[in-house]
């Protein structure tokens, strides 16, 4: 029989701390919008997290619970890191109630982030919808740290309304930069908004891309993926050049609990960052 045989349990190394949150301190809290806050966090041990862009941590609020949150900063050498959290439920609400100095628990970094080595040397089309911009912010920071390693960098950001715009001052800086092509849109007209209006796909017709050399990094709500992927493919991007990050319910974050399974992938282990080519035959992915 061709079944894989059992595991020699004497040879594996049990990870005693696998589910144990490590103490971390909230250093700073910055309100972003009505629903999002940006937390600056560091491990109390002083150890640097050592994460890559697109990875996440399991954040534990004592007594309340745990939730997966993307690491949204990428600043090698800096012992603290940032989490941008939208208040949607139990844990996120409790997080929003915390002040600088509060202690939380963290597990991670977890998951496969954006493979920066694979996208180096290419033009990048970065598309972020709403809270989807959160993991992408780390990517942009990584790119800017080594700007010369990449080709063109195009960033498209979409929000429902001006009130929901995240990382406002940073977006303004990106907009100012000569080495980034930046566009922002809001879904519906809004008093006082002079910029582009329309869903994010309405920014696509203007785009001129060198398709074979372009990698698209797309993060947003499920509905956005369907339309943005179609646009990317229309622009001639190959399926393996479209890179996405997905969200699922996660309890363990380490490929055991089964909640984040998307067809035969575990979102927490094999993702959250996937190539569209991996997902396109998965009816549960998008």
């Amino acid at each position: 029989m061709a079944y894989r045989s059992g595991v020699n349990l004497q040879e594996v190394e049990p990870q005693a701390e696998l589910y144990v949150p490590e103490p971390a301190r909230i250093v700073k809290v910055e309100p972003q919008t009505a629903k999002e806050k940006l937390f600056e966090v560091e491990l109390t041990s002083g150890r640097a997290l050592g994460h890559g862009p697109g990875q996440f941590v399991q954040v534990f609020v004592p007594g309340i619970g745990e939730a997966p949150i993307s690491l949204c900063s990428y600043r090698p050498g800096c012992s603290s890191f940032q989490l941008c959290v939208r208040n949607v439920g139990t844990v996120t609400a409790a997080l929003h109630g915390l002040r600088p100095g509060a202690l939380i628990g963290l597990r991670g970094p977890l998951g496969k982030g954006f493979a920066m080595d694979e996208i180096k040397g290419h033009d990048l089309l970065i598309v972020g919808g709403g809270i989807g911009l959160v993991p992408l912010r780390g990517v942009v920071q990584a790119i800017l740290a080594e700007r010369d390693q990449y080709g063109r960098v195009i960033i498209l950001a979409g929000f429902k309304s001006p009130e929901e715009i995240l990382f406002r001052s940073e977006l303004e800086q990106w907009e100012q930069r000569e080495d980034i092509e930046f566009a922002i849109t809001i879904d519906r007209p809004h008093p006082g908004w002079g910029g582009h209006v329309g869903v994010i796909t309405t920014l696509f017709p203007e785009l001129r891309l060198d398709a074979p050399n372009t990698r698209a990094l797309v993060v947003g709500p499920p509905i956005m993926y369907r339309f943005v992927i179609t646009e990317c493919r229309l622009k001639g991007l190959a399926d393996e050049s479209i890179i996405l990050s997905l969200e699922r319910r996660m309890r363990c974050g380490v490929g055991k609990c089964g909640h984040c399974q998307i067809n035969n992938k575990y979102c927490c282990l094999d993702g959250p960052v996937f190539k569209y080519s991996e997902l396109k035959f998965m009816w549960e992915a998008i």
């Binding site: 007594g63 309340i64 439920g89 139990t90 609400a93 409790a94 109630g97």
Partner: protein, 255 residues
């Protein structure tokens, strides 16, 4: 944060649910460190005029007096939590709806019954808005404590949305269908630890239904075990009579 105040108010019911709170003996001493009980007729003589943070209601609303009183209570309470099958679901009280109100009075009290105040039994949420509901007949002490903890911490409490079979199988029970009993477990909301099947009896869905019960499957299965649809409905009735009435009127409303 100041210690929240709590009160228990009883309406039409057996008061088993208030007793279930008193029965958390081991924990009660810790609970009074978390919340201050300021009014609870069954257990204490004190009463209060002040606004109450947490009001637990047991019992259904089944008289005009009840109805008036619950409206007054609502005014005095920040967070209203119905506890037990009667308060959340009208409980067994709704069984009387199968007869006319006049008939039930007569059956029990004879002619003298005619002047008694009774109206259709309704859950609290049908009369005033409630913030949360803890089901069960009676409520489970553990669940009650968990929910009080959640509330004290500002956490949204949650009830399981899976059927009793889950807890029943975790306890490795022999399914009571195999003993010739009829079980509501497959459509009933869990959270009780499958108490009844674990002690060898059947589940009566005292916690109401899961969000999307598969009644059609249940009817089919029960037919397999020789139960008629009518008997099935009767079974549903014991604790879910009101829920079924509500569902029916919702469906009619949609049409």
């Amino acid at each position: 944060m100041a210690k929240p105040t709590a009160a228990v108010f009883s309406f039409t019911g057996c008061e088993g649910c208030s007793l279930a709170i008193l029965e958390c003996e081991k924990e009660l001493l810790d609970v009074v460190k978390l919340v201050d009980f300021v009014e609870w007729r069954e257990a204490m003589s004190e009463r209060t005029e002040a606004m109450i943070d947490l009001g637990f209601i047991d019992g259904a609303i089944s008289t005009h007096h009840d109805e008036k009183k619950i409206r007054q209570v609502r005014e005095r309470v920040r967070m209203l939590i119905s506890i037990g099958a009667c308060a959340t679901n009208a409980g067994v009280n709704a069984l009387k709806h199968r007869y006319g109100l006049r008939e039930v009075k007569e059956i029990v009290y004879g002619e003298a019954g005619a002047e008694f105040d009774t109206i259709s039994a309704r859950p609290v949420h049908a009369v005033v808005p409630v913030e949360f509901e803890i089901p069960g007949c009676p409520i489970q002490g553990e669940e009650f404590l968990r929910i009080v903890l959640d509330i004290v911490q500002g956490k949204q409490p949650r009830l399981p949305n899976y059927p009793v079979c889950v807890e029943c199988k975790r306890k490795e029970n022999v399914c009571v269908f195999e003993k010739g009993m009829i079980c509501m477990g497959p459509v009933a909301r869990a959270g009780c630890g499958a108490d009844c099947p674990s002690y060898g009896a059947w589940c009566e869905a005292c916690r109401g239904f899961v969000d999307n019960p598969n009644d059609e499957a249940h009817e089919e299965v029960l037919t397999k075990y020789g139960v008629t649809s009518e008997e099935l409905l009767q079974r549903y009735d014991i604790f879910c009579a009101y829920e079924l009435e509500e569902r029916k009127s919702r469906q009619q409303g949609q049409r």
